[in-house]
């Protein structure tokens, strides 16, 4: 029982990342009809926003410490962050420690801006082109973006830790009456799950309870009629692209402490996120979220040693296996609507 609870918990944070990326993908597909293979790159850029903001906070001047030597035996050059000069060492270190959560404020405008530039500069030229063209151009864009990041940040992962207060893990086992340490879960992953739930809730509330959201939903259902009513739906859809980019970016920012960001992390999530979208149902926002969590949890179960002993290698194929079964039995996915991506 404790093993089952543990794997459900485990699947939640991975499912949160899948759900957030898939939500953005579905928003873009549902509004603009574009299959955006660059969406994983937006997740990666989000993580690098955290890296960049962290580096900005640590921006330093150099002093020479005569008491210490560097590797060549010369006096050691010590970097002193300007933030220490401004706020003192203790406060400065506390601000640097909280770089990841603080970088959310930096990431939102950056990602919305990147989303606008991507949509206006490239993707709008492919609205009326076949999906294959859209996939090719956005996949190419994703590769360009990751090479740009690699050029500036290198190929090695860059550690971007969570605030020290979130170090360690919570012992659910002791709380639920199981053995101590039988169900442990890192605090930051709990934060990630809560954050994801908040973002998902905010996006749904925005679409459900605002006039803007109502127009967007109407446009997703029948773009032509909304246009005939004199509403500039394209402008709203561009804004939605920016919002989708920000959602992917936020997913990336908060994921940075879980796995050190590297230029390839977007690609690692992209394919799985597309599977999530397809399983959830193309164009279905609740479907994307449901499938994200479902597949995240299934992946966790498939990675259990006991399961791997019975079916070796199942951890590597489980998501695709489930996708095949669902598409065979429910061709439109779990919550897909009739007419979407169909002739």
């Amino acid at each position: 029982m404790d093993a089952i609870i543990l794997q459900i918990l485990n699947g939640l944070d991975k499912g949160s990342a899948y759900a957030l990326i898939a939500l953005g993908l579905t928003l873009i597909f549902g509004t603009l009809g574009v299959v955006n293979f660059a969406h994983g790159a937006l997740f990666m850029i989000g993580a690098f926003c955290a890296v960049t903001f962290s580096k900005m906070l640590s921006f330093s001047h150099t002093i020479i410490d005569e008491t210490q030597k560097d590797f060549l035996g010369n006096p050691l050059k010590v970097d002193v962050p300007y933030i220490h000069d401004l706020f003192g060492q203790a406060t400065g270190n506390a601000i640097i420690d909280w770089a990841v959560p603080l970088s959310i404020l930096f990431t939102i405008p950056v990602m919305i801006g990147i989303g606008f530039v991507m949509e206006r500069g490239l993707i709008k030229h492919f609205y009326k082109r076949p999906h294959a063209d859209q996939i090719l151009v956005t996949f190419g864009l994703a590769i360009v973006l990751q090479e740009v990041i690699k050029y500036f940040y290198g190929a090695n992962p860059i550690p971007t830790p969570a605030p020290a207060v979130f170090a360690g893990s919570f012992d659910f086992g002791a709380m639920l009456g199981f053995d101590a340490n039988s169900i442990i879960y890192p605090y930051w992953r709990l934060v990630y799950f809560a954050f994801s739930a908040l973002i998902i809730g905010a996006v749904f509330a925005f679409l459900q309870f605002t006039t803007f959201g109502m127009v967007v939903r109407a446009g997703m259902a029948d773009r032509e009629t909304v246009g005939l009513l004199g509403i500039n739906i394209d402008k709203r859809f561009t804004i939605m692209f920016g919002i989708a980019a920000a959602v992917a970016g936020l997913a990336g920012v908060m994921y940075a402490p879980i796995n050190s960001p590297n230029y390839h992390m977007g690609m690692d999530f992209l394919v799985l996120s597309f599977v999530v979208v397809v399983v959830g149902g193309m164009g279905s926002l609740p479907g994307a979220v449901l499938a994200g969590f479902l597949l995240g949890i299934l992946e966790s179960f498939a990675s259990m040693a006991a399961v791997l002993e019975i079916i070796p290698g199942i951890n590597q194929i489980i998501i695709y296996l489930v996708a095949i079964i669902i598409l065979l039995t429910r061709p439109r996915g779990l919550m897909g609507r009739k007419g979407v991506m169909e002739e």
Binding site: P159, P161, R189
Partner: protein, 448 residues
């Protein structure tokens, strides 16, 4: 004989023969003869540096390339001479190799066997490389080594740690200076026993490919021999980025040590995840829970950040060593590039010099003469103490470093501290040791 009346048929025949000649790889052409592939002509000799310039090990590849460029500079008489000043052999004079100026071409392995073979093939066939060296992966090393054997050139392996490179996949034309999985296990086990005791339960997470298997086997057999019990060994996909699903069950297994047989991005992520789960703060079986990383690299330690603190592993070389060779190399590399070299840079630099020295001693670039010069060659002054290039398997035998993540690093390069220099006798094994079983060197191939 007259050339005054060329016929159309004659012209076509002549043209066809000439075209076929030009289309041949350089090592099959007449100018490539002298009994072996790519015999250097004129006043230069070309070496092929095949390193990952793109992909996940690009930073490691960049450091390897820096080291090779430094080696070429020193071989041609430039710079401060680096390790040539401390090397026990005095065959190298700083006038190139056998008086020929050293030039080089580079290839990008992308850390993919097929891409690495293609770039090595191109360097041999198009650029006339007489020796190929480099790499940051055992899969790549094994693939390129086999290609060099077929082509008749020498392969001086870069960073490759799998037993198989000089075990079941060894080749007569291939040589490895870097240490291997067996040596890591043999060096680590006594240090682990001394620090963590002999009554431990280990849980292995192992990257699901050749290097992972040999490393798990080596560490398991070494630690079990001293009394540890292996409670589980789980393979993880090479493409895995989030290891939480694999780490979460570790405590439930009753294990009190987690061994991460991972390298590169896998190591960075699995270690980060394990520390996030707070494993090192737990008390299991009345002992502190511990994590072990059998193969450390400074570049990987940098990626894992503070998570490496206090964690044991092994390494081939470290810039903080205080022998004359290491100091000379660090000074030379650090002065040129502004930061200390990695172990990948060190092994690549040393391999380039060892090849050049072997050619000088052999008096020929002929691969078979070079093989003869390198086999059972004993040397010193290259940063690892007294070293033997064993003839039976073309593996270097030297001291192995056991290191630990430093608690208070002074810079981004100062991440590991040496806790023990394991003497070579302790990591030496018989050529027919079960972990090296299968395969044979065969005979050297001079090619053309």
């Amino acid at each position: 004989m007259s050339f005054s009346n060329p016929t159309r048929r004659g012209l076509i025949k002549t043209g066809a023969v000439a075209s076929a000649g030009l289309a041949l790889p350089t090592y099959l052409r007449a100018d490539g003869h002298a009994g072996f592939t790519n015999a250097p002509q004129g006043s230069t000799v070309t070496l092929g540096f095949n390193v990952p310039q793109s992909g996940p090990y690009a930073d490691e590849g960049a450091d390897e390339l820096r080291a090779y460029e430094l080696a070429v500079e020193h071989l041609n008489g430039g710079g401060d001479g680096g390790l040539m000043n401390t090397f026990s052999s005095d065959a190298l004079k700083g006038n190139g190799i056998l008086g020929k100026k050293v030039e080089y071409v580079t290839g990008d392995t992308q850390t993919k066997s097929d891409a690495a073979r293609a770039s090595a093939k191109s360097m041999i066939e198009k650029d006339g490389a007489v020796m190929v060296t480099g790499g940051s992966s055992s899969g790549v090393a094994v693939a390129v080594q086999a290609l060099c054997q077929e082509a008749g050139v020498i392969f001086m392996a870069g960073l490759t740690h799998s037993n198989d490179t000089t075990g079941k996949d060894k080749r007569a034309n291939g040589f490895r200076h870097f240490f291997n999985s067996y040596m890591s296990g043999a060096a680590l086990a006594p240090v682990l026993a001394a620090n963590y005791g002999t009554d431990r339960k280990a849980y292995h997470l192992t990257a699901d490919y050749n290097w992972g298997y040999t490393t798990e086997e080596a560490v398991r057999s070494s630690t079990e021999a001293m009394g540890w019990e292996t409670v589980a060994a789980v393979k993880t996909p090479l493409t895995q980025t989030d290891f939480s699903a694999y780490i979460a069950p570790v405590l439930q297994s009753g294990a009190d040590v987690l061994v991460l047989n991972h390298y590169g991005g896998n190591m960075v992520n699995s270690l980060t995840n394990a520390v996030q789960f707070g494993l090192r703060d737990k008390l299991v079986n009345d002992k502190n829970f511990e994590i072990v990383v059998p193969l450390y690299s400074r570049l990987m330690a940098k990626g894992a950040g503070a998570n490496v603190k206090g964690i044991f592993g092994s390494t081939n070389w470290h810039w903080s060593l205080q022998d004359e060779g290491s100091k000379a190399f660090v000074k030379s590399f650090g002065t040129k590039y502004g930061f200390p070299p990695s172990q990948a840079a060190h092994t690549c630099y040393v391999q380039a010099l060892l090849y050049a020295d072997a050619v000088e001693r052999a008096g020929s670039f002929n691969p078979c003469a070079v093989v003869e010069a390198l086999e059972d060659f004993e040397f010193d002054g290259m940063g690892n103490g007294k070293t033997l290039y064993r003839g039976a398997d073309h593996q270097c035998f030297k001291d192995v470093l056991v290191v630990k993540g430093k608690e208070n690093p002074t810079s981004e390069f100062d991440l590991l501290e040496i806790v023990e220099v394991t003497p070579v006798e302790q990591v030496t094994y018989d050529p027919d040791h079960p972990q090296m079983a299968g395969g044979s060197l065969g005979s050297c191939n001079p090619g053309a």
